[in-house]
């Protein structure tokens, strides 16, 4: 008998706010977060805007306990904030009889941002002679300055697995603790693997989801060099336009989404409120190119197909698709093709929207935030829109729920995340039925 896994808590830290209900209201209203970048001076960058988390104080989430996480990176702090809300939402803060080795963590957590100013200072010192003239890198000269200016804790907190360590310490989670970083697919993959950890019996509760901030100089540099970002600097809030003919790249965002996954009987025994059931997961690799998606969408199709089949459902059972929908030329076209192909046995593919149109692309955290909105869509029988959709693209011919949220019975929802290098992950959640 397969152990069933349900969602009993959710928490968000996003560019549209840090509270699940208010973020949901703003998404349903079609509000768009992107604006001028303030994390650093990006005014001369090809892309000078982003979708940033604002007004974030960890003490708002953890109270006095925030001080114990003083050196946490921006990414880890987001995870702590979202996890604290999810933990409380699940009622776990009231439960004193938890079997801690059976509570685990599985994050799609990004690296902490580079300590950029100090890194740049050491880099320049390593490339200048005593007269200040540019030279090639002198490692010894670099090392001297690097050891003088870099800070041990800040360097430690950049490590990918530190966010998971912070969560384990904060919530007493001594079970499996894993971080995956499969680019933009990471948190969907984390939740899928966490599902299987509970199903197998290695844990009863998993704190799972994702967190990331790449809104820093080298993060934006990396994506700008790849020409992956929209450069619509004159209109940040309409720049993310998934599936629109005039889309020209994604909008970089930051944030975290954390869910409490719990074995059904465990949740029932403690009287937890069940928000939805995680029923399907599919994970595949394109095995094609590091820069491009396979043109037939084969990896995405296989991930969605596996997720639906493993849920014991058929394509006709899916009421809503939360698309990866990045607003890049290639993703939106091939994701559309993949959905068209897989759902060709239906009268029409289900309504499909991308909340990246409003939140931007939260990279490793994107999938978890999007899954949370799928749970809310099931709860409220309403689906969020694809904002900024004005110009139909002949290559993108699905019902994208343009600009207005839509009332619709939602029993089962599917969420896609696709990452650089051909990582494809899909989750299916369903309204809980005893």
């Amino acid at each position: 008998m397969t152990r069933r896994v349900v969602i009993t808590g959710m928490g968000l830290v996003t560019p549209l706010g840090h509270d699940v209900e208010s973020v949901w209201e703003r998404l349903l209203a079609g509000e768009c977060a992107p604006s001028k970048t303030t994390n650093f001076d990006a005014s001369a960058f090809p892309t000078s805007f982003s979708s940033e988390v604002i007004d974030f104080q960890l003490s708002d989430f953890l109270g006095d306990k925030a001080a114990g996480h003083g050196d946490a990176s921006r990414s880890t702090a987001f995870a702590l904030g979202a996890a604290a809300r999810a933990w409380r939402h699940a009622g776990l803060d009231q439960d004193l009889a938890l079997d801690t080795p059976r509570i685990g963590v599985y994050l799609g957590g990004g690296e902490g941002p580079l300590d950029f100013d100090r890194f740049a200072e050491a880099a320049i010192a390593g490339c200048r002679n005593d007269d200040g003239e540019p030279t090639s890198l002198d490692t010894a000269r670099w090392a001297k300055r690097a050891l003088a200016v870099l800070r041990a804790n800040h360097e430690q907190e950049q490590e990918h697995n530190c966010a998971g360590g912070h969560l384990a310490a904060e919530f007493g989670a001594e079970g499996p603790n894993i971080n995956t970083l499969t680019a933009c697919a990471a948190s969907t993959q984390a939740i899928g693997e966490a599902l299987h950890i509970i199903r197998y019996g290695d844990a009863d509760i998993m704190i799972s989801g994702g967190t990331h901030s790449m809104v820093h100089p080298l993060g934006v540099t990396g994506f700008n060099r790849l020409t992956a970002l929209s450069t619509r600097n004159d209109s940040p809030d309409t720049a993310s336009r998934p599936f629109d003919r005039t889309r020209n790249g994604f909008v970089l965002g930051e944030g975290a989404g954390i869910l409490i996954l719990e074995e059904l009987e465990h949740a029932k025994t403690r009287g937890a409120k069940i928000l939805a059931e995680v029923v399907g997961y599919g994970s595949t690799a394109d095995a094609f190119r590091i820069t491009d998606i396979h043109e037939d969408g084969r990896g995405g199709i296989a991930a969605m197909k596996t997720a639906i089949e493993s849920a014991g459902l058929t394509t006709a059972d899916i009421d809503y698709i939360s698309a990866h929908g990045t607003s890049t030329e290639e993703n939106d076209k091939i994701e559309t093709l993949a959905i068209r192909k897989l759902f060709s046995d239906c009268d029409a593919p289900p309504p499909t929207s991308s909340i990246k149109s409003m939140l931007g692309h939260l990279i490793a955290a994107a999938g978890a935030v999007e899954l949370i909105t799928c749970v809310l869509a099931i709860r409220d029988n309403v689906i969020p829109p694809t904002a900024n959709y004005k110009n139909p693209d002949p290559n993108c011919n699905l019902d994208y729920v343009p600009n207005e949220s839509r009332k619709l019975p939602v029993q089962a929802a599917l969420s896609n995340s696709f990452g650089f290098g051909g990582q494809n992950d899909t989750l299916v959640v369903r309204a809980f039925e005893a």
Binding site: A44, A123, A140, Q156, G165, L181, T182, Y200, Q423
Partner: protein, 445 residues
Amino acid sequence: MNNRRVVITGLGVTTPLGLGIEALWDGLLEKRCAIGPIQQWDPSGLPCQLAAELPDFKLRDYIPKSYRKSIKVMAHDIVIAVVSSYLAVKDSGLTTKCLVDRDEAGDNPVVDSTRLGVNIGAGLICADLVELAGALNTAVDDDGKFSLTQWGNEGMTNLTPLWLLKFLPNMLACHVTIIHDAQAPSNTITCGEASSHLAIGEAFRTIQRGAADVCICGGAETKLHPMAIARHTLWGRLNTEDNATPGQSSQPFGAKRRGMIPSEGGGLVILESLEHAKKRGARIYAELTGFGASSSAKSWNKPDPSGRSLMLAIQKALGDAGTTQGDIDLVNPAGASTPEHDASEIAGWNAAMGETLEETYALTTRGSLGNNGAGTGAIDFAATVMSLDRNTVPVSVNTNNLDEACKFRFAQNDPKDVPIRQAITAAPSLAGGQSAALIIQRFEE
């Protein structure tokens, strides 16, 4: 629950003792230490100037000709994974696209790509410092300070367009999936020294539940980068006192241990469902029977003196394998060689294994190989599999003067020939708090 049996059918390692499993095994049997002064760049500005470096090799000997154009987008961590994947597949007798493209397939059928998965532990890959520092140095204002304005306007164009893709941790697995055409689940686990064990453990579960028939799994990393060594210097984890005596510098669990020695390397192994392995008549090294993972809830940046995280991982793995401490014939601890980490690890093993530890043979590779981070566990796993396969415990280099709390029974002077039916290998991460353990067993029908 559909728990299929999973066996180990291929070992591919890229280590400072040599490339390929036989080279590693011979090096361990010969008690060789691969640690020496850093050769790849000038370490004179850093207090630890030792490392275990890989021997020279040519990547083109391990990839299809058509893939050579991709070499320029591979950080060294990726190169290590790609080489290891070739070695593992060759060792297993499987045929993948890589071997077909290299005209090494013969008449063998190609493994079903949709059933071939990848799971690779990776580290925080350091950007090439010559390239990045050189680029940053083009955006300096009149006061000699870095200028974001100059960088945004012009400086960043000194980085190649694909610059970011060289350093994404999932690129180890992505290149491997492309080269071998592996389309089943592909994951990248980034949990420091526990990464390889976690990746192998997750691949084990993936095959158990039927989501793949074959997985290429393990880990790879290099710490042989000025930034990585600077970080470890700031964290106080390196041995900075033995630059003149490299052969004795890495002393896992030693009474006078003074810190770790950085390294580069990794390993990928082939896990396969028993059914799939039998059908093709594969050589079976061992069966993978247990996996346990856990975390410290005390601290993410300091080892817990109680070693509880490691203890829990070992206990879970034993329970998963349905075995007990007394039935284990070989233990493979890590041995970070720093005072605090080894104290924590010793406490964890002592708590989990009890008195049986003193009678059970042990093997650590750190005295020979140092620590490369995410790839270290896979090398340890491969060495443990070989010990079981050959019924031989190599000497653990630099373990003749152990910490008095330490109860490990390392082979001294000469390798010990002993029957090994079950072995356990475990890996605590130096930071983050994660631990993982794996149990292997001699294959019996």
